[in-house]
Amino acid sequence: METTELEQQPEEVAGHTTVPAPEKRFQNAIRLVVGVLVLLILISALPGLNLRFAGDRLQTFTTIFLGIFIEAVPFLLAGSLVSGFIAVFVDQNTIARYVPRRAVPAAFTGALMGFAFPVCECGVVPVTRRLYQKGLPLPVGIAFLLSAPVINPVVLVSTYAAFGFGPVLIGRYVLTFIIAFLVGLVFHFAKPAEVLRPPEETGIGLPDSYHAPEAAAKGEKRAWTAVVTAADDFLDMARYLIIGSMLAAGMQTFVSQALLLQFGGAPVLSVVAMMALAFVLSICSTVDAFLALSFAGTFTTGSILSFLVFGPMVDIKSAMMFLGVFRRRIVLYLILLPLLFTLLFALIINLFLT
């Protein structure tokens, strides 16, 4: 049986200690985003460089940014805590024993793991990253990453509250499962080294002071280590969340959403519009059903489903957070594959099933 690179070098990965984070790269990214935003604000104030108008835009941007960031932070914190405790309390043997490695069972398991780790799209990234560090097979992690924001009890309840038991609820869960499963299968052909960013780039690991055998003897010490690890994870992923939230806020400030909303009844364009909207809005999967409900009267069923399926898998902020786990090329794949699958299924629903 073919084994992954992580399996071959578990000690190397697990024994890795904290590496200085790429602060300079992060600072450059922040500078670039802020610079582009300032430029956009000034351009939008033209002609005549209406500074008051620019001030209004800046205020709008700030409000949206804070809205997205504050909404996401608790979930990222929860995900980071789970990640920290996984780092300390879950060993590789447990994962090796219980998680299937063959492609189909692995993707199947990953697509349903959200019920064991109920996290939204912000929290799922650090958890996935930590599970990969513990030797989780790639298809399991990818399927989990894409499905967990929807296939979990919290989102099940919120979607039911918004739409009741019917085609939207069923469609959301069936499509999310199928897409996550299929993308997970695709990643069975990959090797961890070509998918995951190397530890020395991500800085993932345990604190230098942590030594497992000694810590194992003291449960208190292990819990504290988990919290410290969670804090590291949180701060590490929060950088990507900040950039993603800024980009999402910028898109919402400067790109007219009314343009997207005029395609509500068109079977093809409505799907494209709602997927674009989901990507731009970057709304948390725990509450997105209530927003989708407001479109239910004017948008096609397929487009509503595409919003509810694609948005939790990939949006601007989660795509940025993917960069903390995956190589850039892989992040592109993680955007395009769910996009194409969702587009295909939503079009089939619109054109042939409704």
Binding site: A190, L337, L340, L347, L351
Partner: protein
């Protein structure tokens, strides 16, 4: 940059997905707007000459060409969209006993972007208009009956009411009948409810319960969605009904509201113009006929001393009504026409000598609006009222009946304008009851439809 096996797999999958998306869009664009059902159904016979053509689609409709529906033999009409249904309203009643070919042309578009790719065609055959009336029954409650216009077949009972049927109104498309039924058998309480049934007598159900009022004289709006009816509150059981007020009733939801916010406004004998823009009613408070514009809320008062129902011109251009006219030494009741919305009054009927010694009533416009049927007797005489005809300008006044012992009333033109339906009553007969008759306008031949029978109406 080297391309790994994984990259190759991913790009292959994405290429496959892109191809599938393209194929789905291409094939999806060829999926047309599906039809759920048609009215009248394909192959239907004995269809009402008043029928609408209705086609229900799978989706809410967005647009349709002006010529979306064509009938052969040709008849003009208006097309409109209501939710997922395309409706063609013929401008004139269809011809009886005629096979019609319906074509719904391609181009009808749903809100989801799908269009009807291929024309939809089917056939149906119209029947002969039938006649509705209430048949008094000394043994039980009066019921609603239907009979053929040739009078050869015995009438068929339609309603199965537990108490007397007071009055009724046929829906504009002749598919349903609203009718008034006393609440209980004894009729002591005086309360009456509104009921609804299909034109074939099926699906009889209560439309509006009026436990503390007499709700009666329903009148349909031309779109068949609402009724206006008279409501007389009964404050105590057994007390006489109070003053009439007009109320709206939504047929599908059963929701009912007063026509006017001012609860003191009285109204009776409501009628709605064929174009649906005007509501006319007798206003005892104003001593005249009030015309209320349903679109802009404007009003027009036509002074009238008779206080009887008006007849609307088929094109909603004017109303005809009977009114008392006085001169220095003479007075009579004549038919007048009032133009809408100007309110200009034209006296149409006079005696043959040009005087006012006539007592005219019950004007009824012919379907083409060119003639009027009305009842006439000599003023201040005890003779029976006769059936007369005149042109719309008041000329060519001719009698159709001439028996002073028979009283004629309640005139209704057949949809083709060839026959008049009326009620007659023998004044000389001691225990006479009213009967329902028809007269062929060309030949003058009369036919008894039912006896005893009252309140005749066509079921086109």
């Amino acid at each position: 940059m080297t391309v790994s096996k994984f990259d190759a797999v991913v790009w292959s999958v994405m290429a496959l997905l892109a191809g599938l998306v393209t194929a789905v869009i291409f094939l999806g664009s060829r999926v047309g707007l599906a039809v759920v059902g048609q009215t009248p159904p394909p192959g239907a016979a004995h269809v009402s000459t008043q029928t609408q053509i209705r086609v229900q689609f799978e989706d809410t409709l967005d647009s349709a060409p002006d010529t979306a529906v064509t009938l052969s033999p040709f008849i003009s009409g208006a097309t409109r969209l209501e939710g997922d249904t395309l409706i063609f309203q013929p401008a004139m009643p269809l011809t009886p006993d005629t096979v019609y070919d319906v074509v719904v042309n391609a181009g009808v578009q749903g809100e989801n972007g799908r269009t009807l790719h291929d024309p939809l065609t089917w056939q149906f055959q119209t029947g002969q208009p039938r006649i509705l009336f209430i048949k008094p029954d000394p043994e039980g409650p009066d019921q609603l009956f239907v009979a053929d216009a040739n009078g050869r077949q015995p009438p068929v009972q339609l309603s199965q009411a537990y108490a007397t049927v007071l009055d009724f109104a046929v829906a504009p498309d002749s598919s349903q009948i609203a009718y008034t039924v006393f609440t209980n058998d004894q009729q002591m309480s005086g309360t009456a409810d509104l009921w609804l049934m299909n034109a074939d007598g099926s699906n009889q159900r209560m439309l509006l319960a009026c436990p503390e009022a007499m709700c009666s004289r329903p009148v349909w709006t031309p779109d068949g969605r609402r009724l206006v009816y008279e409501r007389r509150e009964i404050l105590n059981p057994g007390a006489p009904p109070g003053n009439p007020r007009l109320w709206w009733l939504d047929v599908s939801s059963g929701q009912t509201v007063p026509v006017f916010q001012d609860s003191q406004l009285l109204g009776l004998f409501a009628a709605i113009s064929p174009d649906g823009r005007w509501l006319s009613y007798v206003s005892p408070t104003d001593q005249g006929i009030q015309l209320y514009n349903l679109e802009d809320g404007s009003g027009l008062l036509v002074p009238n001393k008779m206080g009887t129902a008006v007849s609307w011109h088929p094109r909603s251009e004017e109303i005809a009504l009977a009114d008392i006219v006085t001169a220095e030494t003479d007075w009579g009741v004549v038919i007048t026409a009032v133009s809408i919305p100007d309110g200009d009054v034209t006296m149409l009927s006079r005696s043959e000598q040009g005087g006012l010694d006539v007592d005219d009533s019950n004007p009824a416009w012919s379907p083409d609006g060119n003639r009027l049927a009305f009842g006439r007797k000599q003023a201040r005489s005890a003779m029976g009222r006769q059936l007369w005809l005149m042109d719309a300008d008041g000329t060519a006044v001719v009698p159709l009946s001439g028996d002073p012992d028979i009283h004629h009333s309640a005139f209704f033109w057949s949809p083709d304008g060839r026959t008049l339906l009326y009620q007659r009553y023998n004044l000389k007969e001691l225990y006479a009851q009213p009967g329902v008759w028809v007269i062929d306008i060309q030949t003058g031949q009369t036919t008894e439809i039912a006896y005893p029978a009252t309140q005749p109406a066509w079921l086109p």
